[in-house]
Symmetry: C2
Amino acid sequence: MADKVVGVLGGGQLGRMLAAAASLLNIKLVILDVGENGPAKQVLAPTSPQHSHIDGSFTDPARIRELATKVDVLTVEIEHVDADALAQVDGCDIHPSPNTIKLIQDKLAQKQHLQSRGCPISDFIPVDSTVQSIHAAAKELGLPLMLKSRTLAYDGRGNFVLRELSQTQDALAALGNRPLYAEKWVPFTHEIAVMVVRSTSGEVRAYPVVETVHKENVCHLVFAPLRTRDATLSRRAQTIAEDAVKTFEGAGVFGVEMFLMDDGGLYITKSPHGRTTRATTPSRRAKHLNTRTTSAQFCLFHSGSTALKVPSCAMLNIIGLSSSMAEVNALSAVALTVPGASVHLYGKAECRKGRKMGHITIVAPSDAELRTRLRVLLSALPSSPLTETDLHAPAEPAPGSGFPSAHPLVGVIMGSDSDLPVMLPAARILDHFRVPYELTIVSAHRTPDRLVEYARSAAARGLRTVIAGAGGAAHLPGMVAAMTALPGSTLDGVDSLHSIVQMPRGIPVATVAINNGTNAGLLAVRILAAGMPRLVDAMEEYMKNMEAEVLGKVDKLAAVGWESYSTAK
Amino acid sequence: MADKVVGVLGGGQLGRMLAAAASLLNIKLVILDVGENGPAKQVLAPTSPQHSHIDGSFTDPARIRELATKVDVLTVEIEHVDADALAQVDGCDIHPSPNTIKLIQDKLAQKQHLQSRGCPISDFIPVDSTVQSIHAAAKELGLPLMLKSRTLAYDGRGNFVLRELSQTQDALAALGNRPLYAEKWVPFTHEIAVMVVRSTSGEVRAYPVVETVHKENVCHLVFAPLRTRDATLSRRAQTIAEDAVKTFEGAGVFGVEMFLMDDGGLYITKSPHGRTTRATTPSRRAKHLNTRTTSAQFCLFHSGSTALKVPSCAMLNIIGLSSSMAEVNALSAVALTVPGASVHLYGKAECRKGRKMGHITIVAPSDAELRTRLRVLLSALPSSPLTETDLHAPAEPAPGSGFPSAHPLVGVIMGSDSDLPVMLPAARILDHFRVPYELTIVSAHRTPDRLVEYARSAAARGLRTVIAGAGGAAHLPGMVAAMTALPGSTLDGVDSLHSIVQMPRGIPVATVAINNGTNAGLLAVRILAAGMPRLVDAMEEYMKNMEAEVLGKVDKLAAVGWESYSTAK
């Protein structure tokens, strides 16, 4: 629809996603990459000779100049382009700017830039490729020490973890003659990432924060939304990412990766993330959030929404295991049997061990359902041991097992284990409807800190409703309701009833019934049904069964007469 | 990923969607259509000469045979192919079968086939192209009479509405020398459609029912899920559609269109729908439901889910208004500013009045939000008068206006208008949170039939929770809860409180508070928040404001002292 023609340096999988998004908007792309049938070129046949793709290297200045003569805007889908040649191009808008691309290519320069702008970066220093220099760095930053190549590093290539000084020669041999720098070892607990889109006018907007899981230095899994006990984390991470992206020139979609520390601290590890920096293109991560075209929209038109469209989603990279396509095809075939899973293969002609061959996105109405779906895929990976599958996609506990779901939607809490008999019927109902839940003790009076932490973190952990038992004083449901925006219900003793129904204006608590755990469970299911249509059907079924049960008694009463019915009963 | 190569007769917009879906699975397609740059060929560049597309007509037997030599499976993206030539092809699987395609091409034969299999079809008879024959048909079926061409009819072309016998010559002139049939005029209230996917083994599965809106005989808008007062309608329509598709041979995605009558009756109008019959391809309608690849998955692998992935969605066709692309581009540019909207242009080289140039899908967390987004698009259509915009995408009533939303999420009901003062604070809260609602009178004792109809239809109409006031007897909330699977809450009088908290096991009602409409409204918002993350944020904001208000009083108390605070207050 735009009448500008866009030239893209690079035609791999990211270019392929960019090309597919461009097709939807009738935007013409011309791709520069080696070969005639790369991933991007496959999905965008030129409709006229002046828009034909170019067979050549994105590091070849002559080819870059040739591309520039054919288009109005230049962008990149990979940062390892000839940035100097790009900078010398006249008559084209270039996004992001060649300066930004050059800065990204040198990871040391990138870190110095971010540090100088006040972005949170872990300690680092330049080192020479000498034993002496590396030993000096180890003395300053401690061991283990991350030794990294400043350029051409991605997916863990060009990294060396120096655990002891005696490994220094090995490190130099492994990293060759590349320019190096050293990073302080960061004992992070999780890795998170934020995609940020920046418009030509400099406005930035962050996508929801995702958790990333790496395996052998390659991104293996991505989850969204981020679940955490820290309700402030998402906003903090988005702000850090937006502030980092504001320091670079030019429009584009930028990935900012961060380490999350045990104390809630955040360090930027890569920004813009090497291979996700590009203009007017959807990123794989953004894509997995169902926001494929939004990025392009935002870059081009400063509009569109970055909000998540589904309750829970994940992305699994399909990494080649050998030179055979068989494993890739087998995993894809499994994915096609999984509800909510979509396969995105990249059309690469050859498979290699470690090569990114495609990815699978999975969406689901809840985190637990997402894990159930993902578990099928991870179990089908020959390279994935069961322990790893259990870690990332644990099986739901069997109904009636009495163990909590790792991804509960309902929190069932009681002030004392003496309340357990009253709460159990609620748990049974949740089991019946296959609703993931946890059941635990939170005492308002004896564990007030735990109460605060539980209530404040409930929404950020993914809970959607809380059932609280109230014995006499009724403080548990009332205080939980005061500290979370989630709907809370309570089953009361007679004594606490009047306390709860006289909650002050502003803080609602749903009283279900006196000592009726069944109805508390049923109300929780109905509350979830507001956002999960499956549960509306299941509840209707449950109600039909209740009706049938009573109607059965009607028939029996008529058949045997009330005298013998009464006796038999 | 499949190693079979698929040949497609036709390379228009449906072929384009098919090709895009195939790319994601590394499935190779060879397209037969006239020209080198049609919509489908643009998005699928052949990676080797033996998979190059064919420039020729899908009605040319020689070209069809040429295509067959290059592929393993043949399918169609349009039914106007040479079905006889297709039937004579050897060595290829063909889906759907040439018999099915032939049957679909002749609308009279199609209707006779469906009628003979017991599918609900309105009355029809064959007619000759003579005044005498048409008059005889009018005598039998009444006026107005639908005269239709048996072949090559789509988007209203080949149809003539005979209102008076004097128009017979005009009808014959308009319909030319085509073979005709006559259909009884059906005074339908709505048009609905169901996409059904059929696997090679004959298993069928229906997608959710959609409502379609036609304009000048061309599909203008599609909405899903279907909203209706008739809770049985969706399942009935899906069964009719599945049964119809079971009568045809071969795998594919089939569209079944139906008229919905005032009494809830359904008639099939077209099945399989002319231009949506094809194998292994997503349909435009299925696509708009975010199920693009599911259809292909199901056809190829008998798997995948047909469930809706978002709460509410719509599709708006982009129809050419003139030979200029300007209007198409202008509408697309507007769509890019609308949250949840995605533009899908077809890459057609030329625009024409009435030509389908693309479509826009819109997803939203609620029907009301969907209408708000759609309203922006309809308002941008030069051809769409305000009355039409108001009909399909009414503006939400202004907060505090006291009028109901056309697409409420919350039903606020009271037994008598004397309860209005108690209920109003709930309405004010819903206004504050921009939650669409209705407020009306439903009396358990004086309007029992209305109570039943209200409760039974609540979920199917799109309500997600009901707030019922209970004065003395408390029957309203209890009975509503018994007849809907939705979560219901009540604000009670003191007298009804003990009635409600002693609801029998199985039917939960959430008692919020005694006469506290504010908290009833807040609980409804929290219940909705379980499925609408925006409301979690808004509720947290509301709670922060309450906190700030009290903290302000803390400061004032400290500043002025409690004696003067007390006096000032």
